[in-house]
Symmetry: C2
Subunit: 662 residues, 2 copies
């Protein structure tokens, strides 16, 4: 059945808002909105559960535009359906401070569910959204279903070339996330070229291999509304995650249709005009939508309100029947931390404890009181110690499980965590070896850009992981995290600082990376607020008058204390500062910072088993940064410490040499 | 046909050397060598073209152990076949300074082709090795074939879960790399768990979808030598890349067989003994190999010598027939740079030029004289300007093409480049937007660890890329690169510094990252050796007596000059330092460094449109680092400059304020 004239008008309204906005900005991507408009129309008009008046409705369907460069597709849809996005907002596409940035940004525009643009991320986010839905549904639904929505994702060729989407899709297939539906804008064109120069695999067969339900919509160049609709109906009914390849033409209707020239630059005024002529749209004015078409879209946008009312009624009934569960649900939905948590107590009696073990103890102590805490590791939980004991595995048939086995898929792990965080009501954690931060960095960066509450646990945090050698030993990773905006990085020195790191992370509105040792470290004494201020005087010099300050983080703090003993035995008044977090320290008032690192004490030595990059800010021009500005070595940790001069004697000698010079 | 007793003995020799070494080190991975020993035996004894006496024989087959944690498999094979690796080396497994680090390292152990351990990388490296072979064969073979070898790769479940292997395998399938053969150690176990908790996709179907020839060896738990042999024969004959899934049992023969407990920790002395008993091997002494078995292996290791002799004869005939071609081949094989290259000349007449454009001009100017320069972009060459015009595309049927279309697969691009570099005779370059460095960072790190000559081009290097917004605007990427050991990062200020960056990179024995602008920048005048010293005085203050130093990189150098004009108009004697490379500057003698940044001039302002992390080393405690310690924004570049205070007026104001304080 061909599209009706009305269908065509509503689809074209998306198209021309999009290309007019790109043309006005003189920047952007017209190709996707032109090619995928019918998909957007079919999804929004016949399937997506949403209410334009309340973009925060908890049980709305989630729609992820993984191909975020096609942002004008979603902005046009949000405007047309009556989200709080005006025509002026569209006219300000890609302008400073507008609600319509070049790529969709979470927390920036109502109706945007996740930040996309870096390709492939959206697919991982969608898997995370679907995991969150499945987990919350399994955990909170009773007689009434208060969580019961689909996650839709629209992805392009670029998304599906990226490894992260493959990792996430493999995981989704394993997990059997039946309410996840991926629309593939199969236009055979990417930025630089047709895909036939690089991407000729059988994508549908690959998704079938992942265990997905796969359909192909080949009719009418992706404009066949009824065919797309039928595929979406079948996808919703199938118990597996669904993949729908829709064969489209990039830049449909324009003179550049089917070429990579349509992908990422404005069509040009003349081509915009020709496109309007070709599709029978008035060439003037810009941003034109016929009144009846706009009215129809706006009516559509209101249709969700009764559905939301019905859900509210269901929710009320559920809440009445399950008051305690509802109190918990509303707390986690609102992102509130319980007023008191059963944090463990560490003291000297625990003996030497690896901070990874302390981290595992902390997580497990609060896991029952924090049902929102869900996550897992990239196939390393016996090593990262992040398994939540007694809380089950998130697996098909057991979606209430809170431990997610991400597999050796660090990148998808990060993208999935971002999706879980974006969903709301859950606090995701991930874990891997610190060196493999690199594998998931694009996702960590987006967590930072989103400024969502997530906890990234990294263990085996230095060359002192030992025998696995330089391929596994982080060097530059701390610098990489510390230079990333919005991210708080904490490298605790002992069990107590690990506890404080977790306290901070659970309460912090933003992402936190907690960097932990493989090896045991001593307990450094009972202290207050050891992490919140970022750095503090752990050991004061005699008479409070230090000649020398040793600054260290993590496992090197106990080394600093040992070196301090040697220095004090030589008569050097030495202060030891533990600095678990650069970021938190730099947020302190100048007075506090100067009290920890008095400007008058210029003899300073920092000690950290990592790149010294960034340390000169604290040691100053007359100080010395002891670090490792080369790759590590495969050997037992003690041998590495000796070879790399991370011994109390070596540190004391370096410090003494510095004092002799100054 | 069952294995002979001799087969079993030779296989068991691998197994027991491996588990004895792991046990002695009390660290390592016994599971893979036990399970995959028959694969190693079959490959080395019946297929691999190698000569133990000359691990550098150019036309040897390459073998990549992507599952690098199983390093004792390859170390045992290298020892048995008589490479320069002694029994003492095996006994020093994972000890400081030994030739047998925990994971195999390129340039560290003869016979190791690439550094592996970070999972999935080896698959990408193998694709790179196969690309190098195909390109060199297409380019240099004439009547005689001087390049004609296979690339074998052994990968485990973890490798194949990683996205990078999927990206690389999709590319290999597209490219039809028929001489690439991947053995999949299909043991259904990863570090933390059986794969049935996370990895239940149909891997063989996935590889078929990539366009590979796929076989399954299911007999005898992966110990059926003849079945593996038959599969390898079929793989070599098939014109597609081949995937052979061999169903194995991790930790075969040991009490821990088939469990993840066998993966990554020593079996324990008792279990080692039980394993030997179970397989009928003498329980003592450790590291025992029966004389006849060792003799057989050593004989095998010598078999390559006649093959190499034959190749030498072929090579001689080829060289005689093609003397000029041979001269070129020998030059690139030896990694020698031509004494004179037709570098372009830039001057003020070029006007304002984006450094990405200057980079493209430089590459194309020298491309003909540097046939070893091959590479491409991750679907961005119209933007990165890295296409080598007139040198064709590396595509099926046109392997002499020098432009590789990597697709939107940054991570595989990096891993493939590492493989090309490891192959020898080629100088790979890659290109993408700077922000997407993050997607390929694990591969860049391995390039740094390998210290191989590779050139990473990153364009769109700051918020000044404009409208694409914060998802595409790098902030922390410079810090991330600068903190990475062995890597030289250069951010040129204009076309001339871009030229100098390329000159450095082509000659440098190690990886170089060249970070380039999207936007145009002015030409800053004719200078000598503007990059080689890392930083230099671009503009001197009046009377050579600066009160103030402005230090900048890249596009901010011209901003510094403009600010300097305002400051000088106010009577402030201002020096402007261009600092294209931290690393190169820090390698200069102290005297030079002090001449550029005199310790007496403490009023210093650095200007870089990126994280300020790391800059305090140069501005000192009394200086100011102007940077961007937050995420960017979607807007035209000029609007961003204004909003983020990157204008001459703002910089001059900040500098004046600093002077007023000091």
């Amino acid at each position: 059945m061909p599209n009706t004239h009305d269908d065509e008008q509503r689809i074209d309204a998306i198209r021309f808002l999009a290309i007019d906005a790109v043309q006005k900005a003189n920047s952007g991507h017209p190709g996707l909105p032109l090619g995928a408009a019918a998909m957007g129309y079919t999804l929004f008009s016949r399937h997506l559960k949403f209410s334009a008046a309340d973009s925060a409705w908890f049980d709305r369907d989630r729609f992820v535009l993984s191909a975020g460069h096609g942002s004008m597709l979603i902005y046009a849809l949000l405007y047309l359906t009556g989200y709080p996005l005006t025509l002026d907002d569209l006219k300000n596409f890609r302008q400073f401070g507008s609600k319509t940035p070049g790529h969709p940004e979470l927390h920036h525009t109502p109706g945007i569910e996740v930040t996309t643009g870096p390709l492939g991320q959206g697919v991982g986010n969608a898997v995370g959204l679907a995991i969150a839905e499945a987990h919350l549904a399994a955990t909170y639904n009773r007689q009434q279903k208060i969580v019961d929505h689909y996650t839709y994702c629209l992805a392009g060729d670029g998304d599906l070339m990226e490894g992260v989407s493959g990792e996430a899709s493999s995981l989704a297939g394993h997990l059997g996330l039946g309410k996840l539906i991926l629309l593939y804008d199969d236009n055979k064109i990417s930025l630089a070229a047709p895909t036939d120069v690089t991407f000729t695999e059988d994508v549908c067969a690959r998704y079938a291999a992942y265990g997905w339900h796969v359909q192909n919509v080949t009719s009418d160049d992706g404009n066949d509304v009824n065919a797309i609709d039928a595929a979406l109906i079948a996808a919703r009914e199938d118990p597996r995650p669904s993949f729908i390849a829709v064969h489209t033409i990039i830049g449909y209707g324009s003179p550049k249709a089917g070429t990579f020239g349509a992908h990422g630059e404005p069509l040009g005024a003349d081509n915009v005009k020709k496109t309007k002529e070709a599709l029978g749209w008035p060439t003037e004015p810009d941003f034109f939508v016929p009144d009846d078409v706009l009215a129809w879209w706006r009516e559509l946008g209101k249709k969700g309100a009764p559905a939301q009312d019905a859900w509210n009624a269901t929710y009320g009934a559920w809440k009445g029947a399950n008051p305690e569960l509802a109190a918990e649900f509303e707390r986690i939905r609102d992102g509130a931390v319980p007023p008191a948590l059963p944090w463990p107590i560490f003291n000297a009696e625990n003996g030497n404890v690896a901070t990874r073990d302390a981290g595992g103890t902390v997580m497990n102590a609060v896991a029952e009181a924090l049902p929102e805490l869900v996550g897992g590791s990239a196939d390393l939980d016996p090593s990262t110690k992040t398994y939540l004991k007694g809380f089950g595995d998130f697996q098909p048939g057991n979606y209430e499980g809170r431990n997610i086995h991400f597999g050796v898929r660090e990148h998808a792990m990060g993208a999935v965590a971002n999706g879980i965080a974006a969903h709301g009501a859950l606090l995701p954690f991930t874990a891997t070896f610190f060196n493999f931060l690199d594998y998931m960095k694009p996702a960590v960066r987006l967590a930072a850009l989103n400024n969502t509450r997530e906890i990234f646990v990294y263990t085996h945090d230095s060359v002192f992981l030992g025998e696995d050698g330089p391929t596994h030993q982080p060097i530059e990773q701390l610098a990489s995290l510390r230079a990333t905006p919005n991210l708080t990085t904490i490298r605790p020195a002992d069990a107590l600082e690990t506890l404080e790191a977790w306290k901070f992370a659970v309460a912090h509105e933003g992402p936190t990376a907690i960097v932990l040792t493989r090896q045991k470290v001593p307990f450094l004494g009972v202290r207050d607020a050891a992490v919140a201020r970022g750095a503090y005087v752990l050991h004061e010099a005699q008479d409070d008058e230090p000649e020398l300050i040793l600054i260290a983080t993590g496992s090197e703090v106990s080394l600093a204390l040992d070196a301090c003993k040697l220095l004090e035995a030589q008569g050097t008044a030495t202060r030891v500062v533990s600095m678990p977090s650069f970021e938190l320290f730099l947020q302190q008032p100048e007075g506090y910072r100067d009290s920890v690192l008095p400007p008058t004490v210029e003899a300073r030595v920092s000690i950290e088993a990592a790149s010294t990059f960034g340390w000169h800010r604290f040691v100053g021009p007359r100080g010395i940064a002891i670090g490792i500005d080369h790759f590590g070595a495969s050997a037992p940790a003690a041998a590495i410490a000796k070879a790399f001069h991370f011994t109390p004697e070596d540190v004391a000698k370096t410090a003494s040499g510095l004092l002799a010079k100054t």
